[in-house]
């Protein structure tokens, strides 16, 4: 448990957070009370244990994945396959569907449920081909004026020989560059692991959300521990140090709102989790609706230009 002074600091932090427009999207959901209860819990107790709990829940093998949400939130889903150059990466899905009555394009990382599917989907770790497919879907969205939804759940872009030969770094860079150019509304939500470059490749959005028990990291806790502590076993310490949980990401201004999950986590009640996610996505889209394509694009770039500004440039 945090000490008294720490608690005081956190409480004032929370009251400041409540006053910020950042939470507007969540407030509109009618889930305010619930969210604040959860925020109270998470923000007032960001103990190392709580942070690690987020890491574990984010990786829970029963957690709903992208296609579980697609099934519950989108009608007339038509999945698109292939990057039209090399192949079809099953670790990243893309498609067209109807969300709250309008056509949208959705891209999302996809892990597998059983051993066979996990292997086929490469544990959700995308190759450059996956980002190629995502970019194709994004261009389609832009051409037709369909809003873009992006669900993020990736341990990291795949670290393999072929992935490098096919240009993993360049693919991640170009996917972001394309998102910075789109003239349609983009809403991204981290629904599990937001693992580093592999995640940011599809997260350059107008509104960025995180589910309550998801994590967003620059490097995996194990990777960070291996480098800085020279011992991958120190992952808990690393996670505590770099604070990948939703509450901290909100506080740092990296995300715009936290999407609440059912009491014991999204895996406990996928239907309810989907409903809460759907509400948050719909509200975020609504917030962006009135803006022109050029304005969206301009604001999106300003958003990322000013995230985490260093003190001297504030």
């Amino acid at each position: 448990m945090a000490g008294e002074a720490e608690q005081l600091r956190l409480r004032s932090q929370l009251s400041r957070l409540r006053g910020l427009p950042l939470l507007r999207g969540a407030k509109l959901s009618g889930e305010l009370e619930r969210l604040q209860k959860q925020l109270d819990r998470v923000v007032s107790e960001p103990s190392d244990e709580e942070i690690w709990r987020s890491v574990e829940l984010a990786r829970n093998p029963d957690r709903p994945y992208t296609l579980d949400y697609v099934e519950r939130l989108l009608d007339d889903w038509f999945e698109l396959h292939g990057d039209q150059h090399h192949g079809d990466d099953a670790a990243l899905v893309a498609g067209i569907g109807r969300f709250h009555g309008r056509t949208v394009v959705l891209v999302g990382n996809q892990k597998g449920r059983d051993v066979k599917e996990r292997t086929r989907r490469n544990f959700g770790m995308a190759y450059p081909e996956g980002y190629g497919k995502a970019m194709r879907a994004m261009e389609l969205a832009d051409r037709h004026g369909f809003p873009l939804l992006s669900l993020i759940d990736i341990p990291g872009a795949y670290p393999g020989v072929t992935a490098e030969q096919h240009g993993q770094g360049g693919a991640i860079a170009r996917s972001q560059a394309l998102m910075a150019r789109l003239r349609v509304p983009i809403v991204a939500c981290v629904i599990g692991e937001g693992g580093s470059g592999g995640a940011i490749a599809t997260a350059l959005a107008d509104r960025v959300l995180m589910q309550e028990n998801s994590i967003y990291t620059v490097i995996s806790p194990e990777g960070c521990a291996a480098i800085l502590w020279r011992d991958a076993g120190e992952a808990r310490k690393a996670a505590a140090a770099f604070k990948p949980d939703a509450a901290h990401c909100l506080e740092l201004g990296v995300i715009d709102a936290i999407v609440p999950e059912p009491e014991s986590g999204a895996h406990a009640d996928p239907d309810h989790a989907a409903q809460l996610l759907g509400d948050a996505l719909a509200e975020s889209l609504e917030l962006l609706e009135s803006q022109s394509g050029d304005e969206l694009r301009r604001q999106r770039r300003v958003r990322f230009r000013t995230i985490g500004n260093i003190p001297a440039t504030r």
Binding site: I172, V218, P244
Partner: protein
């Protein structure tokens, strides 16, 4: 086949492991040089052509016309947004890096001329915490893009980096989209980015602005991979090709436009700057 035999002979005389080797001893052929000898050869081994690292200030001296470089945003310093503490506090690492490099951060920006053509420069320093990109590096790069747009001069970036700076947590990951957005703004303003990738250019920097140049140039032997060979080996247990992730491999697979040896870099940049200027 004869090449193979050469390699084995080379290895028999291989210099000691990296940790014990003197920085002026060539890791490839074992030749040793005085500082002034190396500097005279642009830090390229006259014996075997191995490219030694180049500090940011030295790189600027090598590339820019004499006395043309004017530094910008030199006053920016990182703070410690997460109060990050691993085996040592982040603030201590920052202070130490500044002391040992004489630089405020891992990137130096400013405007200059190369072969009489004006340009903006953004040059990284590997000696400053592995050339890692935190908020100040991201900010400096973004300002370099803005400076290039305002002056209507191409931006030349020279990267040498291990990627994002872990000690700034998720905020360091945010430097990827930040620098990408800066490049897109520069493009919209009709500007040019020439990306020179030196050893190593990996992870978060390769996955952002370094890969977005209008022209992508690599130095010979530079490691340009999103994931480094050690991690790939550990994770996949695949046998790595000998030239895994190197500039030469990237060239073969079509990810860089040219591999330019250091002595030819300044003339090559001069040629590109003239070409882009004449097209305006």
């Amino acid at each position: 086949m004869s090449e193979r035999i050469d390699v084995s002979i080379e290895h028999r005389h291989a210099p000691p492991e990296d940790g014990r080797r003197h920085p002026n001893t060539c890791p490839k052929c074992g030749s040793h040089y005085r500082d002034d000898e190396l500097a005279e050869h642009l830090n390229v081994c006259p014996q075997c052509g191995h490219h030694f690292p180049v500090h940011a200030r030295e790189r600027i001296k090598q590339l820019a016309d004499p006395d043309s470089f004017v530094e910008e945003a030199a006053e920016l310093r990182s703070d410690d947004p997460l109060a990050f503490f691993d085996l040592r506090p982040y603030t201590e690492r920052l202070a130490e890096a500044e002391l040992s490099t004489g630089l405020g951060e891992a990137m130096v920006i400013g405007h200059a001329a190369i072969e009489d053509k004006p340009c903006q420069l953004a040059v990284m320093e590997f000696g400053f915490m592995g050339g890692s990109m935190g908020r100040v590096v991201g900010e400096k790069f973004a300002r370099a893009c803005e400076g290039a747009a305002e002056r209507g001069a191409p931006l030349v970036s020279v990267t040498t980096t291990g990627g994002a700076r872990m000690q700034e947590g998720i905020l360091s990951l945010m430097q990827l989209p930040k620098t990408v957005c800066a490049v897109e703004d520069l493009r919209d303003a009709g500007g040019t980015l020439i990306s020179v990738m030196a050893h190593p250019t990996t992870a978060g920097v390769l996955a952002s602005f370094a890969s977005l140049g209008d022209v992508l140039v690599a130095e010979p032997g530079a490691l340009l991979s999103f994931t480094g060979p050690r991690v790939v080996q550990q994770t996949t247990r695949e046998k790595l090709p000998e030239d895994f992730g190197l500039a030469e491999s990237n060239f073969r697979y079509g990810h860089v436009d040219a591999i330019v040896p250091r002595p030819e870099l300044r003339p090559a940049l001069g040629r590109l700057l003239r070409l882009f200027a004449d097209g305006r």
